[in-house]
Amino acid sequence: MPDDHSWSKPPRSRAARNLLPHGFPFLLVDRVVELDPGRQIVALKRVSAGEELSGRGAFPHSFSFSLIAEAMAQAASIAAASVSEGEAPPSGAYAAIKEMRILREPRAGEELWLKMKLLHQFGRLFEFRGEAKIGGELVGEGELILRLS
């Protein structure tokens, strides 16, 4: 997935990930690979067999469909919140899923690449479109709206 990036910014992995209020086991972004603050992001989630939330999908040790959508939202939330310079950065919450297509569940040992791009912003609402891939295989795509608070 990193081969088709059209932008390049130094990774700000830990600092950017700290923009999420989530903790284990619900933090679904392991690394921020590329970040264009406020506009787009590529992030990575490594799916492991030992995750608290795995095994609740259709297959044992798989990452359920809804968690892919949540991981996409968490990545988008980092991108949206990364323009803030305050000491208490805003955090994003799902306001709406406009469309979402999940094709298969990632399994333990697979890397889920999350690429999200801002489409529109109005006030505290951010509309993103993005995709989730494993290697070059598309496993999820959709549009979602986050509210930053």
Binding site: A95, A96, L119, H120, F122, G123, R124, L125, E127, I145, R147
Partner: protein, 87 residues
């Protein structure tokens, strides 16, 4: 005055189409509030209307304060569109 009526119909059509409302244009009162007690729209609908106005009229709503004024009613939105057309 005829242009004003046409614009109001265009705005109502945009609202119904973009927000997938199951009502007809003549059910929207020109002076009724679009949000809360009026049509009952919410902030997500506002984002959809902002995008629709940009794409179909080439008009931007830069922030929430301007949005509150512009989205007060169909009448207010028509007035906003007329003032910002071609800018």
């Amino acid at each position: 005055m005829a242009d004003d009526k046409v614009l109001k119909e265009q705005i109502k059509d945009l609202i119904i189409r973009r927000l997938r409302l199951e009502i007809s244009p003549n059910e929207i009162d020109d002076n009724a509030a679009l949000f809360e007690d009026g049509l009952g729209l919410d902030s997500i609908d506002a984002l959809e209307l902002v995008v629709g106005l940009e794409q179909e009229f080439g008009i931007s709503i830069p922030d929430e304060d301007v949005g509150k004024e512009a989205f007060a009613s169909v009448e207010a939105l028509c007035s906003y569109v007329e003032r910002h057309k071609g800018k």
